[in-house]
């Protein structure tokens, strides 16, 4: 997938899941400060992105993502890891 295609996928996920206006979602959009998402929404985003990448996201990497552009880079990286056959990170479950 190209970065533009990944962006389109992310825009679809965000607009459909959180009823956001697609026109207001840009690469520079800040997920929490501008799009109004919270940490619970972030769980939903990364679960849906798992279906795109075919890999379980690394929770520590996921927690550091703040913008749509960083999400695009994350998906690119995950797709490359999938293609390279790299093992998935373990998930963290609440204790």
């Amino acid at each position: 997938m190209t970065r533009d295609e990944i962006l389109q996928t992310i825009v679809e996920i965000l607009s459909e899941s959180f009823e956001l206006d697609p026109e207001e979602i840009t690469r520079e959009s800040k997920l929490y400060e501008e799009l109004g998402l919270d940490s619970i929404d972030a769980v939903d985003i990364f679960v849906q992105l798992r279906e795109v990448t075919g890999r379980r996201p690394d929770p520590q990497v996921a927690r550091a993502i703040r913008t749509v552009d960083e999400l695009i880079t994350f998906v690119e990286s995950e797709l490359a890891a999938k293609a390279a056959g790299l093992p998935e990170p373990d998930t963290e479950l609440p204790e």
Partner: protein, 139 residues
Amino acid sequence: MTAEDLGWVLDGMPHRPPMRLIDEVLEADGKQLVARARIGDGHVLLREGGVSPVAAIELLAQAAAALMVWRAGRGAPPAPGYLLGTRKLEMHAERFAPGDELLIRVAEVWGTGPLAQFEGELLRDGCVVARGSINVAAG
């Protein structure tokens, strides 16, 4: 593990009857759990002869809690947890009736920090009566 070997999981949950809705843990491994819930004549959620299918959300949540107890290990102190909600839940039954036995399957999807998502389904007589995902928080 047999259901008898897994009795300690229910004891490790913070829920107590009548609000502990699952009656038995049947199977468990690191990522998924199967539990059974019976709808008795005195069920705490019984209204006008039936239990709303919306109770599926709580049943999934309690099964998820049981899975976290299993992962914590026998003897670990009960830890509080919270059901945050569901974005997607299919319900295929109008109600659950006294005498119904429900099989509840849950599996971890993903988690980060205190938050996690589980997916699961409820079966009655081998048919799926509810299916969806829930978000939970611990602590």
